[in-house]
Amino acid sequence: MDEQSAIILATGLKYLGAGLAMTGAIGAGAGVGIVVGGAVQGIARNPDASGEIQSNMILGVALAEAVAIYALVVALILIFVAPVGA
């Protein structure tokens, strides 16, 4: 394989890696779903507590979402920072 096609292959693998890194979003999606589901049930049972539940829910959603964001950072670093070849 000559150098040119090796670089093209490496670039392709880089993007593939970035795509694979985003599979981390699966867990975050499930986590956010569980958090919001629990919060909605709580609000349905006790509508008076909705304010407090909501603020806790947003905190929990952000924490669960953070995992997806780590995956996103890895993907972005792969695309924009990691050099090809060299």
Partner: protein, 376 residues
């Protein structure tokens, strides 16, 4: 009342008109030699250097080549917070008057935040509130700075290869220093690298191609060289501060280190017993008690890892939002309105979450852990 809605409608129409102007076919119809579609700014993780320090300046060092655009944004948001504080201060001295307008609005916010802190921090409210509110205001404003028109879109034209040549120079300098060369020799080598890369760039590019006002995309020349967006990009003067590792790491380190400080203020050196556990008597009875030591060490590691998690949460959200705005702007400018709204919410949410987590950890550190039956 009615007038206000007319203004809102006008602004909305202006935004839609601007978005429509950004679609490529329109400038083609008008026969212009540039298109109105937004130029894609340089996308890279480290902040771009806007002003390079002159040679021999004491500011030049292994980690500093010049003033970065993210640092400018951090300063702008810092000054805005300071201005807000100075504007509100004189009114807070006249306690008897009924608060109105601008002051009233912020009093509402601060009072709500103060009450919230009081509920979870108790007697530590006076110590924690400044951190809580400063994190909210500073991060919030530095995130929202990125939504101003012109931020991230006004900058100097930069050919991407030239940018890469500058980066190659920096890399070559560091490599030469590491290889044991003297500073002067390393500088010479780095400069040679820069010249070489730049020479290649000059050969590949026709320098006369920077046509059109600097905000707009130049069209490729007759030979089809220099297609817009692939070689020329805008290096923005200001870029949201939270898209730079330095800013987010700085606030994260402040948050975590001050958490340890208040833990020690509350419990003295006993605070560290949470992390470094050694129960000699218990271990003599059953070796399984060594587990406590392991758990304490794990907790210490997770405490250090908090810096990373704080920093990456903020960086990831804001950087991803920035890239999202560019990509949508160059794909379908009209749709950007919805994404600006999204970024508005994300910017506020991330600032509040950063402050809330800091508050929660600080309150947890002051509570003490020694009784054993407490679960966290």
């Amino acid at each position: 009342m009615k007038k206000r809605y007319i203004i809102y409608l006008g602004v909305l129409l202006l935004i839609l008109f601007g978005g429509a102007m950004g679609m490529d076919p329109i400038s083609g119809l008008l026969g212009l030699d540039f298109s109105f579609s937004p130029v894609r700014p340089v996308i890279q993780l480290p902040g771009e250097v806007v002003i390079r320090w002159p040679e021999g300046s004491p500011l030049v060092g292994p980690f500093s080549y010049g003033l970065t655009n993210t640092f400018i944004a951090a300063l702008i948001s810092f000054v805005l917070v300071l201005l807000l504080a100075l504007l509100l201060r004189p009114r807070s001295r006249t306690a008897d008057e009924v608060p109105t307008g601008f002051y009233n609005f912020f009093e509402l916010i601060f009072e709500g935040a103060y009450n919230y802190v009081e509920r979870s921090a108790g007697k530590w409210t006076k110590a924690f509130f400044p951190f809580f509110m400063t994190f909210i205001l500073w991060i919030l404003i530095s995130n929202w700075v990125g939504l101003f028109p012109g931020v991230d879109s006004i900058g100097k034209w930069e050919s991407i290869p030239h940018l890469r040549a500058e980066q190659a120079e920096e890399v070559a300098y560091e490599a030469a220093i590491e290889a044991g060369l003297s500073e002067e020799a390393a500088e010479a080598e780095a400069h040679a690298m820069f010249e070489e890369v730049e020479h290649q760039v000059e050969e590949a590019n026709d320098a006369a191609l920077r046509r059109g006002p600097f905000l707009f995309n130049p069209r490729p020349n007759e030979n089809g060289e220099n297609p817009p967006g692939s070689i020329w990009a805008v290096l923005p003067f200001v870029r949201p501060a939270a898209t730079d590792m330095n800013f987010v790491l700085a606030v994260a380190i402040i948050s975590v280190v001050m958490t340890q400080y208040y833990g020690m203020r509350a419990q003295g050196l006993a605070y560290w017993k949470k992390f470094f556990v050694w129960n000699g008597d218990k271990i003599a009875k059953s070796p399984l008690a060594v587990m406590d030591t392991g758990v304490g060490l794990l907790e210490f590691i997770s405490e250090v890892f908090k810096i990373v998690s704080f920093a990456f949460r903020l960086l990831g959200n804001i950087f991803a939002g920035m890239v999202l705005l560019f990509v949508i702007a160059s794909l379908l400018p009209v749709a950007n309105l919805a994404f600006y709204f999204l970024e508005f919410g994300v910017g506020a949410l991330q600032a509040v979450i950063f402050a809330l987590l800091t508050l929660t950890f600080m309150a947890g550190a002051t509570h003490g852990h020694g009784h054993g039956d407490e679960h966290h």
